[in-house]
């Protein structure tokens, strides 16, 4: 059963996953080509100075890519389920409805995390060429909330798309925007360092939210007028 569900999810997200893999790796390669230019062809210490003392973030252009990846993956996964209420097929499978939702959500999330780990691996490899561990760590702490925001956005889009009523979809979207934007506050590097635990925790807690919309769907909330 697990295999079958994961197979279905894989069919839905593989293209989106591939696109975001390429997009992210392309963005990172671009970042490090710029860094290379800054270090090799300009004054290396000037370039470092701008990062270390003046707080410029060489990975800044990565900012919204994890967010878009989270949104894109969730849409790829849930749009085919919501279209013509195909989620009924999924709920009808011989498996508990909450369990099947969590399996889908878990698979998507796992795929997103793998994608993010690949991004981070490329980030590490590139950074290690040009910067010492302190700088890598500083930028890592700075970009971490963006990745956590991508995870939260992924879960919240699932919640919004499965919700049967448009009015509530809009309300959820407003709250989701307010919530997810907290992961992307414009701030100095490392500003989130004391709050990573909070943002990690909230990102983790969003994982099961899709159950709420699933419940409302099964109860027939859209049929109550």
């Amino acid at each position: 059963m697990y295999k079958a569900i994961f197979y279905k999810e894989w069919l839905k997200i593989r293209w989106a996953l591939m696109i975001f893999l390429l997009l992210g790796v392309f963005a990172l390669v671009n970042i490090f080509l710029n860094v290379r230019y800054g270090v090799r062809f300009m004054d290396a210490h000037d370039y470092w100075y701008r990062i270390i003392i003046q707080g410029s973030n060489y990975a800044a252009s990565l900012k919204y890519i994890p967010l878009f990846a989270g949104l894109g993956l969730a849409i790829a996964q849930y749009f085919p389920e919501v279209l013509n209420q195909r989620i009924k097929l999924t709920f009808h499978l011989p498996i508990r409805e909450n369990k099947v939702l969590l399996m889908q959500q878990g698979f998507g999330l796992a795929a997103l995390i793998v994608l993010f780990l690949i991004y981070l691996a490329v980030f590490f490899i590139g950074s290690a060429i040009f910067f010492p561990s302190e700088v890598i760590n500083m930028i890592l702490v700075t970009i971490m909330p963006w990745f956590l925001g991508g995870l939260a956005a992924y879960s919240l889009v699932g919640l919004i798309m499965l919700e049967p009523l448009w009015l509530y979809r809009v309300l959820y979207a407003v709250i989701a925007y307010g919530f997810v934007s907290r992961f992307y506050i414009q701030a100095v590097p490392m500003a989130y360092s004391n709050m990573l635990w909070f943002f990690s925790l909230t990102a983790v807690l969003t994982v099961i939210l899709v159950l709420f919309s699933g419940y409302r769907f099964r109860k027939g909330e859209m049929h109550h007028g």
């Binding site: 290396a44 210490h45 909070f198």
Partner: protein
């Protein structure tokens, strides 16, 4: 699990509402408050102040006598010396001290430190400039140093440790008795300053060291500070007079100057100063230093002469923020406000502001009643709504919004 998912949603809803709605409230209802700018006149030997009242700048002395701009500036020739020199009514001497443009200019310095300046990420590596290069301009070095369990210089172009230079400085620090790792590093990592004084570093034992590079060689000096003094922040300055290196802030909210002369410590009168609440402003001029401790509802000013004897003090307080109309109205509507951005920190924090009193409880009870009526109208069994009612009683408008957006419709 489904119920848990709803409570998580309600929590997210409350959080989002508690961030956005109060901040909207403040943009609409915030009343301007003006903190007087207090200065010391050696002409009157008294304090004078400028304050914005209903949008108009009012200049007065401590008795409340008002002055025109010209009159005011004439009484403060040291502060407004540039204007007075241009206007041609600058006195040559004051209290027997001869004043000319060069001297006034050299001694004139302003220093301000706010809570936010002490709560921000510190650089992770530092550039150590050459202090005596023999060149006119300072230059940034090609490398940056780290100071954990040892000192290491990392070359920016190659991203490699300069072993030779690192060993040289490591040896100097060890010989100086430095205890690794560094707890605090302070300096002015820029080439846009008059002179380079390197860094002041608090070591693992709490001792303060002075580290700089002189013609490629390390200079390490241990600074004697009292045993019980815990320096938690150092703010370096670049004074034309070369009188002192830095401001030292201690754990118990005392403030010292680290003098250039033999690393002597000179304490400043800052009675009542709290570095997490107050702005500290030190205005240095040819004749004296004016130290202002400025809070939301009070300002204290201390004047010392050039040998740091206390000349005069000033204290003025006014109604605290929570007695202002905008805060009172707030306290009737909102039980709290959550912000991730804090004016007193450059870190993202989970800052919870609570108004004084429990005036908001009235609204909470009303909203609880509304929720009760709504659930009756929707024919929802009452006992399932109890947790929601409790949430509304505690979180008021935020909980009301959250529980309505994510309605409780668990029938069984």
């Amino acid at each position: 699990m489904v119920k848990l998912s709803r409570y998580i949603l309600v929590a997210i809803g409350i959080l989002s509402a508690a961030v956005t709605i109060p901040s909207l409230y403040w943009t609409i209802f915030r009343e301007a408050s003006s903190v007087p700018n207090v200065v010391y006149s050696r002409v009157l030997d008294d304090f004078m102040m400028i304050k914005r009242v209903d949008g108009v700048l009012v200049r007065a002395d401590s008795e409340g006598n008002q002055y025109t701009r010209d009159e005011f500036e004439q009484l403060l020739p040291v502060l407004f010396f540039r204007q007075r020199l241009t206007s041609g009514d600058m006195p040559d001497t004051l209290h027997g001290v001869y004043m000319d443009h060069a001297m006034l200019s050299k001694h004139s310095a302003n220093f301000t430190i706010r809570p936010v300046d002490m709560s921000q990420p510190r650089p992770v590596l530092w550039p150590l400039l050459e202090s005596e290069s023999g060149r006119v301009d300072l230059e940034l070095p090609e490398d940056f140093f780290r100071l954990h369990d040892r000192i290491e210089f990392i070359d920016a172009a190659t991203n490699k440790v300069d072993k030779e230079k690192s060993a040289l400085f490591q040896q100097a620090l060890e010989e100086g008795g430095f205890s690794f790792p560094a707890r605090l590093i302070a300096g002015l990592p820029t080439d846009r300053k008059n002179v380079d004084d390197g860094y002041f570093i608090k070591d693992n034992r709490g001792d303060i060291y002075h580290l700089k590079m002189v013609r490629g060689a390390p200079y390490v000096a241990r600074i004697d500070i009292p045993e019980d003094m815990d320096v938690i922040h150092i703010e370096c300055v670049d004074l034309a007079t070369r009188e002192f290196f830095a401001y030292l802030f201690t754990d118990d909210n005392r403030v010292f100057l680290l003098m250039q002369d033999d690393y002597r410590l000179q304490e400043l009168p800052v009675e009542g100063y709290d570095r997490s609440l107050h702005r500290l402003r030190v205005r240095t001029d040819l004749l004296h230093k004016t130290i202002g401790v400025i809070g939301e509802d009070q300002v204290k000013v201390f004047v010392v002469c050039n040998d740091y004897d206390l000349v005069d003090t000033f204290h003025k307080s006014w109604e605290p923020p929570h007695q202002r109309r905008d805060h009172i109205l707030f306290s009737w509507i909102f039980p709290f406000q959550v912000s991730f951005l804090n004016p007193d920190s450059r870190y993202i924090t989970l800052d919870v502001y609570q108004p004084k009193g429990i005036a908001f409880m009235l609204l909470h009870i009303v909203l609880g009643g509304v929720a009760l009526v709504l659930s009756k109208w929707r024919q929802l069994p009452l006992k399932h709504q109890l947790p929601d009612l409790l949430i509304i009683l505690f979180t008021g408008i935020f909980g009301f919004i959250a529980t309505q957006v994510f309605p409780n419709k668990f029938y069984e």
